[in-house]
Symmetry: C2
Subunit: 310 residues, 2 copies
């Protein structure tokens, strides 16, 4: 366990490389969920295995949602079953409610990721709930599913930097939700720049405010590269003490309504940035680039959009 | 004149907004030069005028090279003539030799931009000269054209971070060329990450080394966003005291051999980054975005690739 790491590796997945930063690969979830074309189950399993082989110890494999909501994840149980034997890797998945959480636990998912938008308008549009209703759903998961499940919990605060409906989100709004989560005992919270409008100054201020007010919480950040700022934001977040970051292989994950628009920050670019800072990620860039080539081939096969050139 | 500005605005173009950083728009040159389709002269003139209207005080309008080498600039004299009346704007252009420099001066170009690669292999491939031969060409320009021309000189060191043939370029190599230029009296030098492989650590170290060794030189930086690091590098360069940056509207300027690959850092993103840092650029982001829409329309008209979504 590295003393510099503020995000405790509580799932016991510390790799041999003793990483100083936790990179969570969200490509199989955030990258694929907006694709119109369905990626075959076997390809998803192969992709996740290649990501694990590259040294990624935290992989978000999909979402336990209704197949009507996101057809891409209709095969999530089969995907989970196909990668369940991966050793030293924490598999996580989105769960929107008790039902999804129960399904995830039954599949042996290590970390349940609950999410809601701090923007009321976005949460209503996205999950047809107010943030209060989402917090009630989270409380139900904590009461009914988590105990004795063996699973950890991570909560993602979507639109924590800005919202397509409400514009810039004030740090106070985010901090108010973080306080309620922290008081409820949530130990891992990811601040998500869902639409990629956060800036370095905003990132630094938000990171410092969160860490000072809630030192007991392990904070992560999730950036999209809409304005080319994802790595600059990552740099400032790291300097402010954040030690967990999401990335998606190949920068996949653009908005389906903005073809060609940048998606998630590319995991390759995150690894490259941290390598430049002398920060150990435990990830092999070469293996990651090879996995990226496999992803491109897969998307061509599935008829989806190719990821950006990394 | 702002006391924080280390890049003296010696062309007397300080705008009313008292900018603290000099942003040089290179889209009409670096953005267009790789387009297979020729952009009509009137469109180029219109584009440059819109860029000036947005508040950009330094605009690189093209290159005085042979039309056989770059057909896109066969109309450079006409373009220069069409924007010569712009007030408070320094127009610059690439000049590879005495002949080009004479043509530029005859057009009233305010800053001649001479360029060569610090990588021998790249310079041979690009201009069919060794760096020594390029330095001789520069000496000829300084002796035969610059005196009494009224023009200023800027020298661009290409492949200052890395080269497609020689790999990573050592800071010592760059510093050796900077020394020769400084000793020759060159007061403005731009370090160019021609292929976009520079990293934040490399940028910071190079910027500090250059500024410490040559405090009399105004250094600028020119980034491409190949690995998503352009703005992170800009941030570190700014923190190391660099006060001049090139950008291209819409992030235009990708390598013609890598379709879809990111090009120059987008001027919009530079302006947005500095705005976030509280650094005055003197540029209107709204007017810049409108100019970007005009550029996209122009490229569609010319049959070229659209720029990235900014």
């Amino acid at each position: 366990m590295n003393a510099n790491a503020t995000a405790p590796d509580r799932d016991g997945t510390a790799g041999t490389a003793n990483p100083q930063v936790r990179i969570c690969e969200v490509g199989p979830r955030d990258g694929l969920q907006n694709l119109a074309a369905l990626v075959p189950t076997a390809r998803k399993i192969d992709l996740i295995r290649r990501l694990a082989d590259a040294g990624l110890k935290h992989i978000q494999i999909g979402a336990f949602v209704s197949p009507q909501a996101i057809p891409q994840f209709a095969d999530i149980e089969a995907v989970a079953g196909g990668v369940r034997d991966l050793e030293d890797v924490t598999l996580s998945a989105l769960v929107p409610n008790v039902r999804g959480a129960r399904r995830a636990v039954a599949c042996g998912i290590g970390t349940l990721v609950f999410f809601f938008s701090v923007s009321r308008a976005h949460n209503l549009a996205n999950v047809r709930q107010t943030p209060e209703e989402s917090l009630a759903a989270l409380a139900a998961i904590c009461a009914e599913v988590l105990p004795d499940s063996g699973a950890a919990l991570r909560v993602d605060l979507a639109t924590a930097f800005g919202c397509p409906f409400e514009g810039r989100i004030a740090a106070e709004t985010v901090l108010a939700y973080v306080r309620r989560l922290a008081e409820a005992g949530v130990g891992e919270i990811t601040l998500c720049d869902t639409i990629g409008v956060g800036t370095p100054r905003q990132t630094e201020a938000l990171a410092r405010a969160c860490r000072e007010a809630f030192p007991e919480v392990a904070f992560g950040m999730h950036f999209h590269d809409t304005r080319g700022l994802a790595l600059a934001n990552t740099l400032k977040a790291w300097e402010a003490g954040i030690r967990a970051f999401d990335g998606a292989l190949g920068g996949l994950g653009g908005c389906p309504f903005a073809p060609g628009a940048p998606g998630n920050v590319a995991t390759e670019d995150l690894v490259s940035l941290f390598s430049d800072r002398g920060v150990e990620t435990g990830v092999s860039l070469g293996a990651l680039l090879a996995a990226g080539a496999f992803l491109r081939e897969t998307l061509a096969y599935a008829g989806g959009h190719p990821p950006e050139c990394a």
